[in-house]
């Protein structure tokens, strides 16, 4: 199993969710994040003083999937999130040796979906 972590633009969340649904990936977890990447931020100004905002609002997805779902999931995220502009985001994939469903106590691949 793999744990897929993705940072995307907040307003792409709906598109990404839809693409994931199409691939039958229904289970995801979402958190708010601030990101600092190639996208250099922008300048706000408050009462005439510049604020360099280099922590931009991002959304962080966490999706645990079985091996055979990894590519489909990654592709779906890319389809939903890509605009071709800087700031589109990153996907990280890490190994997930164990997964447990709290309700039933099931473990492993069966628990993931």
């Amino acid at each position: 199993m793999k744990l897929i972590i993705a940072y995307i633009q907040p307003h792409r969340l709906n598109d990404v969710k839809q693409e994931l649904y199409k691939e039958e990936v229904f289970k995801i977890s979402v958190t708010n994040a601030l990101g600092c990447g190639q996208q250099r931020g922008y300048h706000e100004s408050y009462r005439g003083v510049d604020i360099e905002v280099n922590l931009l609002k991002k959304v962080r997805l966490e999706i645990a999937v079985n091996e055979d779902f990894v590519e489909r999931t990654v592709e779906a995220i890319i389809r939903g999130a890509r605009s071709g502009k800087i700031g589109d985001g990153k996907i990280f994939v890490i190994d997930l040796p164990e997964c447990i469903r709290i309700r039933s106590g099931e473990r492993g691949g069966v628990a993931i979906g």
């Binding site: 907040p10 709906n14 708010n32 922008y42 706000e44």
Partner: protein, 452 residues
């Protein structure tokens, strides 16, 4: 009706002026003082509506546009005050031309502090300017979350300077509708419908917010874009209700008018009834009593009673309120789900529709005993033996206002669209107007999902 009142006041003020400036104390002069005090306090209350509208509109929209809507509410009053001082007041209450427009008193030139009339004009301007600003501020709600700031500044100034004063002149300033006998005591039509219809034209020309109506398989799906701060929206409604007592009861422009108490009662009962039926009706239709609809319902009751507050009985006020509470829910649904017009705060339904509704109701519910005690003449609606004539006049006024405002706003918004542009671009809308138009966030440090 205000016209008569003004003329009456002025005449009577002149009578007592000698005494007033001779520093003797007499009853006539005291009466002028009571009237001035009452009218000014009412004006202060109506000013406070700006706070109410700002909170309602901010609360019912998204956090990422909150600073923008607040700026709009601040600036429409600031610019509206200047515009109404320079131009609007003159067009509304100046020397009548063909029953269509006023032509004197620009830059408050009639406000001579040495005459009772001049002093009264100054106080009267104060009362009128807050009404003008109310009409202008209503529009910002219907056009929220996607209008360019510069476009807003321009059209809001024009509304205060020209579009509103024209209707005001027709009905209150000695114009043709007032002469026909139209009764719009505190401005269901003059103020609220003008704002509502302007907002309607604006909302149509702007188009809906991104993500509001989603095309899916040939079907248009309506999506909800919930407001971000219900507590301040509710506060806004309480402020508006509070201020409305000044709006309606203050429209006697006289504290010695014996019916100020009655007006407060009708105002309050209609608002209460509107909130009540909106709650009940939203409960029936949507399974749960909807807070934002109930808040709209209170406003609907207030808007609807505004035309007739001095001319109907408390019981009639309850009926008008009960109906308007249902009407506003229906109207919101109709604009949203049938016409696909995106009005984020329901301004068109509350102010446009219920304003027109309330104006018509005077034609049904007016009762001579209430109208006479308020000094607006012996008028009776259809239900009280007055026949169809008043209703006809009221309908004429409603229609004429709709036509004038639609045409004027169509021209105005088209012009703005062609010059500075009316709507922000997609990316600005997505990221929010606060950052794009003003470079700030409304809630610095708070973690807010802006995925929508």
């Amino acid at each position: 009706m205000k016209t008569l009142k003004v003329i009456g006041m002025v005449f009577f003020a002149l009578l007592v002026a000698a005494g007033a400036f001779a520093n003797e104390i007499n009853a006539a002069q005291n009466a002028v003082s009571i009237d001035t005090v009452w009218m000014l306090i009412a004006a202060f209350l109506v000013f406070f509506m700006q706070a109410g509208f700002a909170m309602v509109e901010a609360g019912f929209t998204r956090a990422k546009n909150a600073s923008n809507i607040l700026m709009k509410n601040l600036m429409d009053f600031a610019m509206g005050s200047l515009a109404y001082w320079a131009v609007g007041f003159a067009l509304m209450f100046g020397k009548d031309l063909w029953g269509f427009i006023g032509t004197s008193g620009f830059f408050l030139s009639g406000g001579d502090p040495f005459t009772a009339e001049g002093l009264w004009q100054l106080a009267f301007w104060m009362f009128q300017v807050v009404f003008a600003a109310t009409a202008a501020t209503i529009v910002s709600g219907a056009m929220a979350e996607r209008t360019k700031f510069i476009a807003y500044l321009l059209y809001s100034a024009v509304i205060s300077a020209v579009i509103y004063p024209v209707v005001g002149h027709w009905i209150w300033g000695g114009g043709w509708l007032g002469n026909l006998g139209m009764v719009d005591f505190a401005g269901s039509t003059v103020v609220h419908s003008v704002g509502g219809w302007a907002g309607l034209v604006g909302a149509i020309m702007l188009g809906p917010r991104m993500g509001k109506y989603v095309e899916a398989g040939g079907m248009r799906k309506v999506r909800a874009i919930p407001g971000h701060n219900l507590p301040i929206a509710a506060l806004g409604v309480f402020i508006l209700w509070f201020a409305w007592f000044g709006f309606n009861a203050g429209s006697t422009t006289s504290g010695t008018n014996p019916s100020i108490g009655t007006i407060a009662v009708t105002t309050n009962l209609s608002a209460a009834a509107g909130a009540f039926t909106s709650m009940i009706y939203s409960w029936i239709r949507f399974k749960k009593p909807d807070p934002s609809m109930s808040l709209n319902g209170a406003l609907a009751g207030l808007v609807a009673i505004t035309a007739g507050c001095a001319a109907v009985s408390p019981t009639s006020a309850v009926i008008i309120g009960l109906v308007s509470g249902v009407l506003v829910v229906l109207a919101v649904q109709f604009f949203d789900k049938v016409l696909y017009i995106d009005d984020p705060v329901g301004a068109v339904s509350v102010h446009g529709v219920c304003g027109a509704f309330g104006t018509l109701m005077v034609g049904l519910f007016a009762q001579a005993e209430y109208a006479e005690s308020a000094g607006i003449g012996t008028i009776n609606g259809l239900f009280y033996g007055g026949g169809w004539s008043l209703l006809g006049v009221q309908a004429t006024g409603v229609g004429a206002t709709f036509v004038w405002v639609s045409i004027a706003c169509l021209g105005l918004f088209s012009l703005i669209r062609k010059t500075v542009g009316l709507r922000v671009d997609k990316d600005e809308e997505l990221r929010g107007l606060d950052i794009e138009e003003h470079g700030v966030e409304a809630y610095n440090g708070f973690q807010i999902f802006t995925t929508q």
